[in-house]
């Protein structure tokens, strides 16, 4: 393609006089931007392709896909990523024919383009580590793919017929000076504007309480103010570049957003947290309580309200809609249903539900597993469905929503459902349950999450579930969530995922032992009690136990674990927290309950990463650090001794 390489060279030459042999050495940031932007384009391309799959004549979608590949081609050419450029170019040629009406889009063409998209994704994945090492990898072989795509544009194409097309400008990014190739979060600009407004209010509020001289709160405020005030300006830039030639359809339609370095966001959240603490310190200052004038009191409450609002906004900036995750499954459903010759329709609800970005990332795999299970095993072939009086086209539904402070994600199918009898039989065979055991429906369904059930030759072909379901549960538990199964024979199966809103915050009980305070995550707590003296017994004079509601539970003394001098030596003076670890209940002995608090989880750093019994640290209301307990770790250590 001589013309092509000429063209990209000129484009490159316009922006930078010498295209270096190794663009990485010249500008690693450019490459990191390339990867980031290309990924975005590829995601939007996939989306548009799936739209096109439904409606092959959708010219809007064809144009959007064309633009995406075109941009990637331009950037790749500029960065000497020839393999990427060539594939993008060939696809572009096909799409060009399609948009000029010289070629009709078929399922086969969409398959091929999806394949190309996957190839480009692979290239990007391989390029990424190069950012750190500086060594460019050899891209995966693309010759077969190139031939395949070329065969689609069978008509001889002498030169690119895109005279009126926009110039390939070098990538201009809106990303705020990313120092190193770091992750970025897209934050809705409204959120930032909100925050900026609130910070403005705080500044105003500050003037009012200026008489109360608290240096600390000023520091916190100024630093918190720094970040948001510069961002609205950036959002203007984002809008500008959005109007440029590269404006893609998805971006234009969705809410305006900008990219912000996650480390900056984390810093903002940290600082806002400190601001809240400083604010509460002022609020509860004993000097202020004496003869508090109504005006000062009013101003202080106003300040409290605003800081609260700022904190909430700052927290919400880490949240992204779950829709992106859902959309990824549409591709999976399409591929799987084709392969298995099943007719499956995917329905998405509640795509706008927001989740912490980290959760969304970690949820991708479990969701894929569940959807794969539904399509592969849950759903019957069309013939069987019609025989059973069901519509030939099956439905897989993904639904997200809020429920009681949690996010609930539901994956349902209208397939054959779980077969209780068969699951039970397998479980007995595998000695997971005894023959006489009386299990409830829920307990039987939960057996499918057992690791023993996940091996391929087990239950998969009989009851239809089991592949990797233990992995799903493990991952969900890691996210501090839970998973339940509901199933009716012949009517389908539903997986219910319940997840916390964010991983960054947990609800905790603040407990005291001696002079130390610890945070017990509330999700791990079953109950708390002050035991009567006669309920405590010892085993072999050593292992202590407490009788709680008729069952003997081992007792773990927190002060012994952590080597702290406690206030009370006797369990009947102390407080027992009943908790559960790996299906076994135990009691944790602490001095007292101090209160309940929502805390932001902070890492203790690498040097203290692997302390058994400690999950992290959190800043308490008075600005001091409290350790967050890891109850599983605590019980595990005490058991092994």
């Amino acid at each position: 393609m001589p013309q092509e390489s000429d063209k990209t060279k000129t484009a490159g030459a316009l922006a930078e006089e010498s295209a270096s042999l190794n663009p990485l050495a010249a500008d690693p940031e450019l490459l990191s931007d390339f990867i980031l932007e290309s990924r975005e384009h590829l995601t939007s391309i996939e989306l548009q392709l799936l739209t096109l799959d439904q409606d092959p004549t959708n010219s809007e979608a064809i144009h959007a896909i064309f633009r995406g590949f075109h941009t990637i081609k331009g950037m790749a050419g500029f960065l000497d990523q020839d393999a990427v450029r060539d594939v993008a170019h060939e696809v572009e040629t096909v799409l060009d024919l399609a948009r000029n009406g010289q070629l009709t889009i078929t399922g086969a063409i969409i398959d091929r383009i999806l394949e190309s998209k996957d190839y480009l994704n692979r290239c990007l994945a391989e390029l990424e580590p190069a950012l750190a090492t500086g060594n460019l990898p050899t891209p995966p072989d693309n010759s077969a793919l190139l031939v395949a795509i070329r065969s689609m544009s069978a008509k001889p194409v002498e030169r690119e017929t895109s005279g009126g097309e926009k110039p390939v400008a070098p990538v201009r990014t809106v990303a705020i000076e990313a120092a190193a190739p770091t992750e970025t979060v897209e934050t809705a600009t409204e959120g930032l504007a909100d925050l900026a407004r609130e910070v403005g209010k705080v500044e105003a509020g500050k003037a009012e309480v200026a008489k109360v001289e608290v240096a600390k709160i000023e520091v916190a405020k100024i630093e918190a103010g720094e970040v948001p005030t510069e961002t609205p300006a950036e959002s203007g830039a984002a809008a500008e570049s959005g109007e440029g030639p590269k404006a893609n359809v998805a971006r234009a339609a969705g809410p305006r957003s900008i990219k912000v370095d996650t480390s900056k966001l984390d810093y903002l959240v940290d600082m806002v947290g400190e601001m809240v603490i400083a604010q509460s310190l002022v609020h509860h200052d004993p000097d202020l309580a004496v003869g508090l004038k109504p005006r000062l009191g009013r101003n202080l409450s106003q300040l409290a309200r605003i800081t609260d609002e700022v904190q909430r906004t700052a927290m919400s900036m880490r949240m992204i809609p779950v829709g992106q995750l859902f959309q990824k499954t549409s591709r999976l459903v399409r591929d799987l249903s084709r392969k298995a010759a099943k007719q499956v329709e995917l329905e998405l609800f509640g795509e706008e539900t927001e989740l912490d970005r980290n959760i969304v990332e970690d949820l991708a795999d479990p969701l894929m597993h569940m959807v794969r299970n539904s399509v592969d095993h849950g759903i019957e072939v069309p013939a069987e469905r019609t025989r059973n009086g069901k519509p030939a086209t099956a439905k897989v539904t993904l639904r997200a929503g809020h429920q009681a402070g949690q996010i609930v994600i539901q994956v349902s199918d209208d397939g054959r459902g779980l077969d209780q009898a068969k699951i039970l039989r397998k479980a007995v065979e595998k000695r997971l349950v005894s023959r006489e055991a009386q299990l409830s429906e829920g307990e039987i369904f939960n057996l499918i999450f057992h690791p023993g059930f996940s091996t391929a030759d087990q239950i998969t072909d009989v009851s239809g579930r089991g592949v990797g379901m233990d992995v799903v549960r493990k991952q969900v538990q890691k996210l501090r969530g839970r998973i339940d199964v509901i199933s009716k024979p012949g009517q389908g199966t539903t997986f219910l995922l319940k997840l916390p809103l964010t991983l960054a915050i947990i609800d905790g009980l603040v407990v005291g032992v001696g002079g130390q305070r610890y945070i017990v995550p509330i999700f791990a707590v079953r109950e708390m009690l002050k035991p009567p003296e006669e309920s405590i017994s010892t085993l072999q004079g050593r292992q202590e136990m407490a009788m709680v509601r008729g069952s003997l539970l081992p007792l773990v003394r927190l002060h012994q674990r952590f080597g702290v001098q406690p206030r009370y030596e006797n369990p009947w003076d102390s407080l027992l927290i009943v908790s559960e670890s790996r299906g076994k209940q135990f009691c944790l002995m602490v001095d007292e309950l101090i209160g309940k608090q929502e805390v932001v989880i902070k890492s203790l750093g690498e040097t203290m990463a692997n302390i058994s019994g400690v999950a992290g640290g959190a800043i308490l209301g008075d600005g001091r650090v409290g350790l967050i307990l890891d109850l599983e770790g605590l019980f595990g250590v005490s058991n092994s001794e």
Binding site: E29, E177, F562, G605, T607, M608, S612, G613, V625, L627
Partner: protein, 170 residues
């Protein structure tokens, strides 16, 4: 806008040792660390103890929303523990090691002054014989007839060493 991510390698070359130093006392000895790495100095505060850590790791502290580890340099150097006084300080320093950058606080008896040291002021660490290795000592400075020991904090407080001790303690 590319930034240099790699830390400056700790070097023993004399020309790298000139510069400004923060001096502090520890027992009867005077130590000095390069000012470049010092982020701030604060009075002693309540520290949250962390279990299963070597004795010289006093715990963690909230430094404006960041949780940073605190090391008692006295205990680290095997000096007897004393009660903290009004002069006791926490020096917050930026440490570079293989794992990256991290902030850490070190507890010292009291900080004294900032000195500018020339190459001529600095002598190499004397050979103590018997295979005594002192990789964390950059050199010795003789100022007004008092010897100040120049420390390389990166070597004193490496994550590797602390993890190693962690393993022993656990």
């Amino acid at each position: 806008m590319a930034t240099i991510t790699q830390s400056i390698p700790t070097s023993q070359k004399p020309d790298h040792r000139t510069g400004k130093y923060l001096t502090f006392g520890l027992g009867n000895e005077e130590f000095a660390i390069q000012v470049m790495g010092v982020r701030e100095i604060m009075g002693i505060q309540e520290i949250t103890a962390v279990p299963q850590m070597p004795a010289y790791v006093k715990g963690v502290l909230n430094l404006r929303g960041k949780v940073i580890p605190i090391v008692d340099l006295r205990l680290k150097f095997g000096l007897p523990e004393i009660d903290y006084t009004a002069r006791t300080c926490i020096i917050v320093a930026q440490i570079h090691n293989q794992a990256g950058k991290l902030q850490m606080g070190i507890i010292v008896d009291g900080v004294s002054e900032v000195l500018t040291l020339q190459g001529a002021d600095i002598e190499d660490t004397p050979d103590f014989g018997n295979g005594v290795e002192t990789p964390y000592i950059l050199g010795m400075a003789k100022i007004k007839n008092k010897v100040k020991i120049l420390l390389d904090l990166n070597m004193v407080l490496t994550a590797q060493e602390m993890q190693g001790l962690d393993g022993i303690a656990g």
